[in-house]
């Protein structure tokens, strides 16, 4: 047993290390911001893609919490993103009278944090309210219910004149930036991975694996589903805040279920139940339309075919091919780790034997009963 003093010192050092990590990350992002924005390293076009990628990483990693780790298939993420985008924009539009250009960095940061909190809390509450009835359902029924709720949120917004109806909100203050987008993306990844290695996170995995067994071991399954759903929604809300304050105008049509499906494609592409996979999927899906831009338009029987317009079709084909060749996604549920990196050259992604996401190996004997 460690003495109380040693314990306290250990705790303080742990906190200190954590603080150093966070401060370091913030400093690096702050230093990168002007460097990247200046166009010296990447041109503005790719800079913008980097920003969109950060938002997509937040969306995919947060959706993976509910779809991948908790095993509850939800198609409502764009709806919660919309809640965050709209409430925070309404908040900044009405509360922020001073033109943003005249704000100091500290003031801007304060407003951004305020907007993020507004978006996260409202989207989290929306997730909680939607989650309670929907999460009683399973499988396809849950997917359909969440799809419905996502659309209800969008149609509700469409019919609220106060937030512009179909013409949306514009002149939103430009508070979002590379720094904030990637800070939230990295935070989402960190929180997600912290959760997974905790007792709460293992309870969440238990819900995915076998609800009856989880209950029998004292895991309140419904509670966990609702908590994870609300938390995941809150993160999606933050992504909405960042997107709104980047694009400066938002429309209900930006948050249709097609957007939700795009996020699901990211998660499935990378491999359900892997944070690394969600990041990879988000990166790929962000880059895909840009890649398609380079495919020249061609004509088939007089019709001009532009690959960009066929994005959703390409997603579908991509998913079908993936399901046929790598049903568990590109990473097959494995996670990236420093330790894995340091092992045999070339093997960047590693599945530890203790990896909680190993595919279940079917045992013939298991069928005896």
């Amino acid at each position: 047993m460690k003495s109380a003093a040693a314990h306290t010192i250990h705790t303080m050092i742990s906190w200190l290390l954590k603080a150093v990590w966070i401060a370091g990350t913030i400093l690096v992002l702050l230093a990168l911001q002007p460097l990247l924005q200046s166009g010296a390293i990447i041109d503005p076009y790719w800079f913008r893609i980097l920003l969109l990628m950060g938002i997509n990483v937040t969306l995919a990693v947060s959706l993976n919490l509910i779809n991948g780790f908790c095993g509850q298939f939800s198609i409502a993420h764009a709806g919660f993103m919309a809640v965050g985008a709209y409430t925070s924009s309404y908040f900044t539009l009405h509360a922020l009278y001073t033109p943003v250009r005249n704000l100091s960095f500290a003031q801007q940061a304060t407003w951004m944090i305020g907007a993020l909190l507004v978006g996260a809390v409202t989207a989290g509450i929306a997730g909680f309210i939607v989650g309670i009835p929907s999460l009683r359902l399973r499988g396809d029924y849950l997917a359909i219910a969440t799809l419905g709720f996502g659309e209800i949120i969008r149609v509700a917004i469409l019919n609220i004149e106060e937030v512009g109806g179909a013409s949306g909100l514009s002149d939103i203050p430009p508070l979002s930036s590379f720094f904030w987008i990637w800070l939230i993306a990295l935070m989402t990844i960190a929180l997600s991975r912290n959760l997974l290695v905790s007792s709460h996170g293992r309870a969440v995995l238990a819900v995915r694996e076998d609800e009856i067994a989880a209950e029998a071991l004292g895991v309140p399954t419904t509670k966990y589903k609702v908590i994870v759903f609300a938390f995941s929604s809150a993160l999606a809300g933050m992504a909405g805040v960042l997107a709104a304050h980047l694009d400066l105008s938002i429309y209900p049509s930006s948050f249709t279920f097609l957007r939700s499906i795009e996020i699901i494609v990211m998660v499935i592409l990378g491999g359900l139940g892997s944070t690394t996979g969600a990041v990879l999927g988000a990166a790929l899906v962000t880059l895909l339309p840009e890649g398609l831009r380079y495919v020249p338009a061609f004509t088939v029987r007089g019709y001009v075919v532009e690959m960009q317009a066929w994005r959703m079709v390409i997603y579908s084909l991509l998913l079908i091919v993936l399901m046929l060749t790598r049903p568990r996604g590109l990473l097959g549920g494995m996670e990236w780790s420093w330790h894995g990196l340091s092992r045999i050259g070339g093997r960047w992604f590693r599945g530890r034997p203790s990896d909680r996401n190993l595919p279940p190996e079917e045992q013939g004997e298991g069928d005896l009963l």
């Binding site: 929180l191 905790s198 007792s199 238990a206 071991l217 004292g218 938390f231 203790s354 909680r356 190993l358």
Partner: protein, 286 residues
């Protein structure tokens, strides 16, 4: 099998098994578990009818009966998976009928399943650590930020899970995916996992099903030892009467959802109703 013979249970050390059988009895003659004319119907089918059953602290009680007699249904009613259609389930004097399964687990009842229900894709270690969840103390936000307290608790959980796995001779498998274990080990892991909740009452649903004679013998050894080391009261379902006769102190016999006999193994063995129930189904069970 190359496994060493005899008792496989090592004392898991501090934290587990620090309570003697019957300690919870507090001089109260009441049963730890009491079913009062419990009935459970599925539509027209009455799977469990007016079942009265008592398990006293420290006992090892058997529940037997032919296939489809309603034994598993009894467990499902006790653990809250099904609500009794009529009657009451009392645990430690409190009415627990109608509670959710996780609340029943929290109250101190743990179980295994006839069709093994491990978290197959998770490691052996994680299977046990999930069962330690009941006694964890940190909030969800604390876990998100992985406060030092969470990290410490995590280490403690890993250590305790490891002790438990060692005690059940599964220590060397802690990194394996639970679903990849051989059948007998899966059954043992399920018992280890159930014990990790520190139950007062352990319900074992056909723990020997699908095992060969050697494995069954070893399992009986393990069950006896678990009771001694962990001080847990056990209610055990078994299809095979031989096993039950060997280790149970008292036996209930269920047929068509009703208790047709209850008593000491010798009494049960000689009971004409029991013989008939078993003869009616499978001749060689006795």
């Amino acid at each position: 099998m190359s496994r060493r013979q005899g008792s496989g249970i090592r004392d898991p050390g501090s934290g587990v098994g620090d309570q003697e059988p019957g300690v919870r009895d507090r001089g109260n003659p009441g049963a730890l578990l009491r079913l009062e004319s419990c009935t459970r119907a599925f539509g027209g089918l009455v799977a469990m009818k007016d079942v009265d059953l008592e398990v006293h602290p420290g006992e090892l009680v058997g529940l037997i009966g032919p296939n489809g007699a309603g034994k598993t249904t009894v467990f499902n009613v006790i653990t809250g998976i099904y609500e009794p259609t009529a009657g009451k389930v009392l645990f430690d004097g409190k009415d627990i009928s109608g509670r959710k399964p996780h609340q029943v687990a929290r109250a101190g009842i743990s179980r295994t399943f006839q069709n093994i229900r491990l978290f197959r894709a998770l490691s052996v270690m994680d299977n046990v650590r999930i069962a330690l969840h009941l006694r964890h103390r940190h909030s969800f936000p604390a876990a998100l930020f992985r406060t030092p307290g969470v990290a410490n608790e995590d280490r403690a959980q890993t250590e305790e899970a490891h002790r438990l796995l060692e005690a059940l001779d599964l220590g060397h498998l802690s990194g394996e995916a639970a679903g990849s274990l051989p059948y007998g080990e899966q059954r043992r892991l399920e018992i280890a996992r159930a014990l990790a909740t520190h139950p007062q009452l352990l319900l074992l649903d056909e723990p020997a099903a699908g095992m060969n004679d050697q494995e069954t013998d070893r399992l009986m050894e393990i069950i006896r030892e678990i009771r001694r080391v962990f001080g847990v009261t056990i209610l055990l379902i078994e299809h095979d009467m031989g096993l039950v006769m060997g280790i149970c102190e008292r036996i209930y016999v269920l047929d068509y959802g009703e208790v047709i006999a209850a008593g000491l193994p010798e009494e049960i063995r000689a009971d004409p109703k029991v013989i008939e129930a078993y003869l009616g189904v499978e001749n060689d069970e006795l």
